[in-house]
């Protein structure tokens, strides 16, 4: 089969693997965006910067405090999530009654500010972050050499995506969240603290971004602009999956990563644009996205 296609199997599987890894980041990042968009109706442009902060905080934890990767994996999302909640309370909440454009502009501005601050102190060159020793090296699967850490990224991403889906679709807390997405006034008429729910949701979405950042630290260089290019693709992913759709974010993230990888094999020239071409097609034929509810 591979001979027919004129592609060596190693290259093929190599790109599939790379596609899945990119897809892992797309999925976790677009999931955070979807959770935030669903309840807050905010297009969180700061998501890329918060992802970068997730990576930087884990780098700082290691460099300044000697706290290893495994603790950073939990601590960094908590710290950045808390910063996210502060942002929601102090900056996004006052914009709540206004047009969504204001919160979009605010989060865009925040991206510039956050990126600028980090550039000022750390420059634009990347900071290295070591792969945790237990995950260094790899396994030869015969048809492909699988680095352990890359497999770990995919596994963690699937785990986090599934847990988030479960939390939102199958638990009591998730039911509050879905109900508040639909009719916040009615939810508050039951005695539920909706503003707190909003803050926690934003914090959770931000923590997901930071989590992706921690995962990215050992494979991509930790630098202030690491989120910039990624976030544009992630926005395309959520448009394709359907704004605010949890399933759309997860399935869309992984499959578009894969599509991108396969395009690199068969038509490398289009590999950076394929997602945007799909986005344009989806917008033309199903504007609410593949998993989105019709408006």
């Amino acid at each position: 089969m591979f001979e027919l296609l004129g592609v060596p199997p190693q290259a093929f599987f190599g790109q599939v693997l790379l596609g899945l890894i990119n897809g892992s980041f797309y999925a976790v990042l677009s999931l955070g965006l979807a959770v935030i968009f669903g309840l807050l109706n905010i297009i969180n442009f700061a998501h890329g910067a918060l992802y970068m902060m997730g990576a930087f905080v884990s780098w700082m934890l290691l460099t300044y405090f000697g706290i290893p990767f495994w603790f950073a994996l939990v601590l960094s999302p908590l710290i950045v999530g808390a910063i996210g909640m502060l942002i929601e309370r102090t900056m996004l909440r006052p914009l709540h009654e206004l047009d969504h454009l204001y919160s979009l502009l605010l989060t865009f501005g925040l991206t510039l500010v956050i990126t600028g601050i980090f550039q000022n102190y750390y420059g634009v060159s990347g900071k290295p972050y070591p792969i945790p020793p237990i995950l260094s090296g790899g396994v030869n699967l015969g048809f492909i050499y699988l680095p352990k850490y890359r497999a770990f990224i995919i596994a963690m991403s699937i785990l986090v995506c599934f847990s988030t889906w479960f939390l939102i679709e199958k638990t009591r807390l998730g039911a509050y969240l879905r109900a508040a997405t639909e009719n916040p006034e009615m939810v508050s008429a039951f005695g539920i603290n909706v503003p707190l729910l909003v803050t926690l949701t934003y914090g959770f979405g931000v923590a997901l971004a930071a989590f992706a950042g921690v995962l990215a630290a050992p494979v991509y260089s930790v630098n202030p602009v690491m989120g910039n290019d990624l976030i544009i693709v992630v926005f395309a992913v959520i448009v394709i999956g359907g704004m605010g759709s949890i399933m759309g974010a997860i399935v869309g993230g992984f499959s578009l990563g894969l599509v991108e990888g396969l395009t690199k094999v068969f038509y490398p020239e289009a590999s950076t644009t394929i997602i945007f071409i799909i986005m344009a097609l989806v917008l033309l034929f199903k504007p609410s996205g593949i998993f989105g509810r019709e408006a």
Binding site: N183, E185, A189, F190, I192
Partner: protein, 250 residues
């Protein structure tokens, strides 16, 4: 039935002396710039079923929303068991023991019947347990896994009442529970209100359906242009039938 009667006993013993549960004085309300409630005055005693009657747009629903805190701009005094609600937020008012059954029914379409039922947190002891709810609304038990947006209007209405009963709220604001429903469903909802009344619940009911209201209520207030303009005991209704019909335009 067993659960119902045990509910009944606890309600009555806790209801205590019949006193004013809700006391609304000179209530004013605004939707943005427009002044929609002018001097609404009404009281509801513990264990009473009181209706707000009036034509479309008279301010009945707005009065309920103002009591619940869902109307953002309001003035005057609303006392619930001595606590002033006027500066309280919606969620605080709900926590004081008011259950709200809105005219839109407020069912969450993306949640299942079970999730809708379990959504409102318990705010007091003595609410209905699930078996008692199923006994009251057998239709709901058959549809627990259906999504809210798949229910008929009557099922939505029952669910809207049922989920409030679970919370332990003793005082229910019910907004046009019969609107757009078939006579047989209206009858079922009427029975439900009667059973709640017998169990010591206090209900403030907004109704357009006067025939439904007069079978259930102890007293009726007439709302007109954002004011309470008249009040009748249910036993005065017969003597004032023409007057009431004049108010309601029927």
């Amino acid at each position: 039935m067993k659960l119902m009667s045990s509910n009944l006993q606890t309600m009555q013993s806790e209801a205590g002396e019949p006193g004013k549960l809700l006391d609304v004085r000179d209530l004013q309300g605004w939707y943005g710039e427009s002044h929609v409630l002018h001097n609404v005055n009404l009281t509801v005693r513990k264990g009473e079923v009181v209706t707000l009657l009036g034509r479309n747009g008279a301010g009945k629903t707005t009065t309920l929303k103002a009591i619940m805190g869902l109307l953002k701009t309001r003035a005057g005094a609303i006392h619930l068991d001595g606590t002033d609600l006027i500066n309280k937020q919606v969620r605080e008012i709900a926590r004081l023991g008011i259950g709200y059954v809105p005219d839109s029914r407020g069912i969450f379409g993306s949640l299942t019947v079970m999730e809708n039922l379990l959504l409102p947190p318990k705010i007091a002891d003595g609410g209905f347990e699930l078996p008692a709810i199923y006994e009251l609304f057998p239709n709901l038990q058959e549809r627990l896994d259906s999504y809210g947006n798949k229910l008929s209007g009557g099922e939505q209405q029952m669910l809207s009442i049922a989920r409030i009963l679970r919370t332990g709220a003793r005082f229910i604001l019910m907004d046009e529970p019969t609107e757009g429903l078939a006579p047989v469903i209206i009858q079922q909802i009427g029975h439900t209100v009667q059973r709640l009344k017998a169990a010591g619940y206090t209900i403030l009911l907004v109704e357009q359906n006067f025939h439904f209201a007069r079978k259930l209520a102890d007293r009726h207030y007439i709302v007109q242009e954002g004011r309470v303009v008249d009040e009748f005991h249910n036993n005065e209704v017969e003597a004032n039938l023409e007057k009431i019909q004049g108010y309601l335009g029927i």
